[in-house]
């Protein structure tokens, strides 16, 4: 049910995505992410259009990590920061991270080839129902995303909402 993909630019890195709904221990999960018990990014799925958006954020995070140019302290916080259309870090966490009242969680893990990843460890920590990652579109808050990324109807003539979102993410350093 999870999705694991290799980053073509950094073939030694793999990104795994998991999606959960009806989560009852969000507060606890958030604490585990902060203290390192969960090595991953916990993302609010209502801000995710497609798993591709997450891959774009993860690829950029790994790239900046390898070049020593991250804007935040860890690879995982960098993924959350990269999702945001602005350069305000706390704003990014507020919008794209999870808050205690959320009942759905999109988990992103990045692992090196020679690291053993025990996905079951993560799954066991979540008190909720795991669903297929491609069902994230059921949880997407399209109106909120359009507002936050400032996607006007005119731009949607050029392509999908996903196109608009990833294009903003990729160009925010110079836009």
């Amino acid at each position: 049910m999870h999705l694991t993909q290799v980053l073509e630019l950094f073939p030694e890195y793999t990104v795994t995505q998991l999606l959960f709904k009806d989560v009852k221990n969000t507060t606890e999960l958030r604490k585990m992410a902060v203290n390192g018990e969960i090595k991953g990014a916990l993302i609010n799925p209502s801000m995710v259009v497609d798993s591709f958006q997450i891959l774009v954020a993860a690829n950029k995070a790994v790239h900046l990590h390898k070049n020593g140019k991250m804007k935040t302290r860890s690879l995982y916080s960098e993924i959350i920061f990269n999702l945001s259309p602005t350069n305000n870090i706390s704003e990014a966490f507020k919008r794209f991270g999870i808050s205690d009242s959320d009942s759905a969680v999109h988990i992103v893990l990045v692992h090196n080839k020679d690291e053993i990843l025990n996905i079951n460890d993560i799954i066991l920590k979540v008190d909720g129902q795991q669903i297929a990652v491609d069902r994230v579109s059921d949880l997407t808050d399209v109106a909120k995303i359009k507002k936050l990324y400032k996607v006007a109807p005119l731009e949607e003539k050029c392509g999908s909402l996903l196109d608009a979102v990833v294009c903003r993410m990729a160009t925010k350093d110079v836009a």
Binding site: L7, L9, K60, K66, A152, C167, R168
Partner: protein, 237 residues
């Protein structure tokens, strides 16, 4: 993470596997796969004859200008490839691959060779005029307008023809009619020299441009001035 690993990995080793489609004077263009999608990668390389620092700045500026203008166009509903990733250390841009497309240059050439359906080329230049007017209304100056830098997506009917603008490395933002006039002049030169006997067709393109933008009279006036200057210069030799 071993250090030797991090040196080998990343964009340079990725490009070794990608297929080069164009080696230009300032950039190499490749086709590849990125995060599961088909992409075109544009790599600007350093010029050894330039001072390294100047060169770095210039190359970075081209990359920045390219992605900025693409975003600005897309926001205004003007087709340009989606930007997926930018590497400012190797000056690479990962772009959406506009699949099933031909350059307007190749398209006009083959339409002229087969001498069929002149109506179709008229529809095409009408569309080009309209899109360039929209682009100039957003104050985007392309900087390198040629028929090679416009892609025509095949499959669509004439009445909803899809044109995609590419190659924004020389672009900049300006509201000046003079800059827009020069932009059109560059296109006129390229168009007429690439496609023989297209004077009437290009005139039609400008008509469509004029009809599509409220700001066009000032631009066309500047275009006329620039043409005159160009002619004088060539008379002097």
């Amino acid at each position: 993470m071993a250090h030797s690993d991090s040196v080998k990995a990343g964009v340079p080793s990725y490009l070794k596997e990608a297929q080069m489609i164009k080696q230009g004077a300032e950039a190499r263009v490749y086709r590849g796969t990125f995060l599961g999608r088909s992409v075109v990668i544009k790599e600007r390389f350093t010029k050894l004859y330039r001072h390294p620092e100047v060169d770095e700045k210039l190359t970075r500026r081209r990359t920045t200008q390219e992605v900025r203008s693409i975003l600005r166009c897309r926001r205004a509903g003007i087709n340009a490839p989606v930007v997926y990733f930018v590497d400012y250390t190797t000056h690479c841009i990962f772009l959406e691959d506009i699949i099933h497309s031909v350059s307007v240059r190749d398209h006009i050439a083959s339409a002229q060779a087969s001498e069929q359906n002149p109506q179709h080329l008229q529809t095409l230049v009408d569309k080009i005029g309209e899109i360039l007017a929209q682009m100039h209304d957003e104050d985007v100056i392309h900087g390198d307008l040629t028929t090679s830098n416009m892609l025509l997506v095949s499959g669509a009917e004439d009445h909803n023809m899809k044109l995609v603008l590419i190659d924004f490395g020389l672009s900049y933002i300006s509201a000046l009619p003079e800059d827009k006039g020069v932009d059109l002049y560059v296109l006129e030169k390229a168009f007429l020299s690439t496609h023989p006997k297209t004077e009437t067709l290009f005139e039609r393109l400008l008509k469509s441009y004029t009809a599509s933008s409220k700001k066009s009279p000032a631009v066309i006036k500047k275009l006329d001035e620039v043409r005159l200057r160009g002619r004088k210069r060539s008379m002097v030799g």
